[in-house]
């Protein structure tokens, strides 16, 4: 194909070969700049990728429309960057970040999402033609969601270069899918916004002490734990042997708390208040005659659950179920439950 190109196109190809080192340096700079900016703004994306158009691909483009370009710098997609996001909102957010990072050639940039008529669906993506300040060469930045990317990739895989070539029957079905994915994208964004609102509402209720208004779930439990409601008990237990406390995740207690009939954060708060003293006594009995001086921050809540089970008649079976829930089912858990039951009995918890 390259031999068939006219002299003008051959010259552009030669220009391309000479520009390759600069293009590679630009590619690395664009990639690093985008990565740093996304990290700085706390944006997590599905993919961020860059590529330099191959000589073969450029020759193909020149063969089709070489006369359109006076020099290599007229071709705006020699260097390409693509960011694939999870959410549609992030496409717009990253676009505004790109506007700060690069000079945007607005005349050649296009928001394909807005090109569609009210009754049409298809390729959706935001294309910015950018320039790194101080560089002559431009590059193309494509921004799209994961679902838009999937549609574009599958559409490309059909082998048809443009919507005009594709047989009408298939075009209709592909566009129907584009509409479906657009709805899914909107719904994902809406779900994310609603979850964020829900977490803010929960945090406000927790901060205002309205714990009975907050149903117990993974999110609300995490919010509640941020107020460190078990710190006092943990510190008392640690003081028994002057132990250090290591942070432990408490999320696995969520299921246990639900089984203990805690439906709201208010229930959890009352559970802690009710059994805190006995939980401490149990720890003192277990640890007092040992030289163990390291504990996990789960110890307080674990002992509260043990005491609650015993005080509410759960017995050894209840303890065994607790250890199964915390540690996975194990034949030794019955033995540990028996031992713990005896210890509780010794200090007249039951």
């Amino acid at each position: 194909m390259m031999d068939a190109l006219d002299l003008h196109c051959q010259m552009i190809l030669e220009e391309y070969r000479e520009a390759l080192p600069e293009l590679e340096s630009m590619r690395v700079q664009v990639l690093d700049t985008l990565r740093e900016a996304l990290e700085r703004n706390g944006l997590v994306v599905t993919a961020i990728e860059t590529r330099i158009k191959t000589e073969e691909s450029l020759a193909g483009k020149l063969a089709l429309k070489g006369a359109k370009y006076a020099t290599l710098s007229d071709i705006t997609d020699i260097l390409g960057a693509r960011i694939v996001t999870f959410y549609t909102d992030d496409v717009d957010r990253i676009a505004s970040i790109a506007e700060q990072l690069f000079e945007i050639d607005w005349n050649n940039s296009v928001d394909k999402r807005r090109l569609h008529q009210l009754d049409s669906f298809g390729y959706n993506s935001l294309h910015y033609i950018c320039r790194i300040p101080g560089h002559d060469m431009r590059f193309e930045l494509q921004l799209r969601t994961t679902l838009q990317h999937a549609w574009a990739a599958i559409n490309h895989d059909t082998g048809y270069k443009s919507g005009i070539e594709i047989p009408q029957e298939y075009m209709r079905r592909m566009n129907r899918l584009a509409g479906l994915l657009e709805m899914a994208d909107d719904e994902f964004s809406r779900i994310r916004s609603e979850i964020t609102d829900y977490r803010r509402r929960v945090q406000a209720l927790v901060q205002n002490g309205k714990l009975d208004d907050v149903l117990l779930d993974g999110d609300t439990f995490r919010s509640y734990l941020q107020a460190k409601p078990l710190d006092r008990l943990n510190r008392r237990i640690a003081a028994i042997n002057q132990a250090e406390i290591q942070d432990a995740p408490l999320i696995r207690y969520l299921r246990v708390l639900k089984e203990l009939q805690c439906n709201t954060l208010g229930d959890v708060s009352r559970l802690i208040r009710t059994y805190e003293e006995d939980a401490y006594r149990l720890a003192r009995h277990q640890l007092g005659n040992t030289d163990i001086d390291i504990l996990s921050s789960a110890i307080g809540l674990q002992n509260i659950c043990i005491v609650c089970i015993l005080k509410t008649g759960g017995g050894k079976i209840g303890l065994e179920r607790l250890f199964d829930a915390l540690d996975g089912h194990n034949s030794q858990n019955a033995e540990i439950a028996e031992m713990t039951y005896q210890q509780a009995h010794n200090i007249e918890l039951i």
């Binding site: 995740p249 408490l250 207690y253 921050s297 674990q302």
Partner: protein
């Protein structure tokens, strides 16, 4: 007290035998050093022949867990006896480790 390390693919097995008390913790900490650098691995702390563990031993397990998390690795404590399980329970360490 003896600590041996075996590697097979991305799985590393550290086997402890005897009593992991304060005195034994120093050579054991030295022996597990290769585990602290392991990237994206499954680290098994095999306690089949471990009879006893002290706070110093728990600290070694904890250091392996911390470094593993930082290096994308996962730690599993395997085959602890009933006495050691009791220690894990009364320290709350059962919430820190996956125990098989």
């Amino acid at each position: 007290m003896e600590t041996t390390i075996q590697q097979s693919g991305n799985q590393i097995i550290a086997s402890f035998s005897g009593r992991l008390d304060t005195a034994a913790a120093i050579p054991a900490a030295e022996a597990v050093k290769p585990l602290l650098e392991a990237e994206n691995s499954e680290i098994i702390l095999d306690c089949t022949h471990l009879e006893y563990i002290s706070s110093s031993g728990l600290r070694i397990f904890l250091s392996v867990r911390k470094e593993a998390a930082a290096h994308g690795s996962k730690v599993i404590v395997r085959n602890i006896n009933a006495d050691i399980r009791q220690v894990f329970m009364m320290t709350g360490f059962i919430s820190l480790f996956e125990i098989q």
